[in-house]
């Protein structure tokens, strides 16, 4: 019995992917960012993380897959004045029900380039952020909205050269409101 449990533990350890949150916590400065992560092509990384308040971070995905469903934090949250998260060349899948895979709020900002986002609840939510640029990306098969902005018209967002398709409640939605 002990051997069975041991091999199950060993198998689950070896079979599990890398935790994106643990990599984010260990990331070092680079390219002008406070934290720079360079991921490995086709490697699956598990879970999301909450970006450090006021920090500038960047993820170069290089085709890596971020599977949000298996982590303690099941979205990537960017929040607060001066908080920046730029991401390129990542596949982001399986965000949890009721939240967005990429969530920018409270004056956060970011540049999203060459992302593939599949099977999330909301794809990207930009809630009273400072600026957001989304381009060259694919946002498909969400259970709710593809790209969702809640905005006071004081912030800047640019959305171009994207394929937004088959998102159940709408590909793009905007709610103008005071923040």
């Amino acid at each position: 019995m002990f051997k069975v449990i041991f091999f199950l533990c060993l198998f689950s350890t070896l079979a599990s992917g890398l935790s994106l949150d643990s990599l984010y916590q260990l990331a070092q400065p680079g390219e002008g960012y406070d934290k720079l992560l360079v991921l490995d092509s086709f490697q699956v990384y598990e879970g999301g993380f909450s970006s450090d308040n006021g920090k500038k971070s960047c993820i170069h995905g290089q085709g890596a897959i971020i599977d949000l469903s298996n982590g303690a934090i099941q979205k990537i949250s960017v929040q607060g004045i001066g908080t920046v998260l730029d991401i390129d060349r990542c596949v982001i899948i399986n965000g949890s029900a009721g939240s967005s895979a990429l969530d920018y709020s409270d004056s956060a900002s970011g540049k999203l380039n060459h992302l593939t986002m599949v099977d999330n609840y909301d794809g990207i939510r930009f809630w009273c952020g400072e600026s957001l640029t989304l381009k060259n990306s694919i946002v498909v098969n969400t259970a709710h909205y593809g790209v969702m902005t809640i905005d006071s018209s004081m912030s800047f967002f640019s959305i171009s050269y994207n394929d937004c398709w088959n998102n159940q409640y709408g590909n793009y939605i905007c709610w103008f409101s005071s923040c």
Binding site: V38, R89, H114, I159, S160, Y161, N162, D163, W165, I173
Partner: protein, 170 residues
């Protein structure tokens, strides 16, 4: 008065709404079918939309090949293998080249390369093991490229030791 509204028809230029035609989404292969996908070559930089740029566009040549270079290792942080690319340029036919890994105390951990090399681009790998083949502890390590006596550059690498259960009795 807050209101909801769909962007009409879309919020910016160049947006489309088509099935991207992934090769095999059920098995997490989100590359595009190059014949059927409408996302091929539709990005503003001429590549495919999405995370996989496509192979049709030739990689750009380095801006200058007339210098020594040590690139940041990929991936970083890493827990398996990491790839270290470097370039040698010398006016001599060959130049003594060394690529060594040090810990934060400046102790040599592993010599990856130590031999004369001709001009060109090279790749080395490090698997987080010391010269004796022992897995090193997690942490920051430095990789230093030395070309002849005149060029030296170091990069910072972060090694995460894989967590593997020890076999009972070992």
């Amino acid at each position: 008065m807050p209101y909801w509204g769909e962007f009409s028809p879309s919020p910016g230029t160049g947006n489309i709404s088509k099935d991207p035609m992934f090769i095999d989404a059920a098995n997490k292969d989100y590359r595009l079918d190059s014949l059927l996908s409408q996302c091929v070559n539709r990005a503003d930089d001429g590549y495919n939309m999405g995370a996989y740029l496509g192979l049709w566009k030739q990689p750009e040549e380095p801006e200058s090949v007339s210098q020594n270079l040590l690139c940041q290792n990929i991936p970083n942080p890493f827990n398996n293998n990491t790839r270290i690319e470097y370039q040698i340029f010398s006016r001599k036919a060959t130049e003594n080249v060394s690529l060594r890994v040090y810990n934060t105390r400046g102790q040599l951990v592993r010599t990856l390369v130590s031999e004369p090399k001709t001009n060109g681009q090279y790749i080395a790998y490090w698997n987080g093991r010391s010269e004796a083949g022992i897995g090193v502890s997690s942490g920051v390590y430095f990789c230093r490229l030395q070309v002849g006596r005149s060029y030296s550059k170091a990069i910072k690498m972060i090694w995460l030791r894989p967590h593997v259960e020890e076999q009972p009795g070992n």
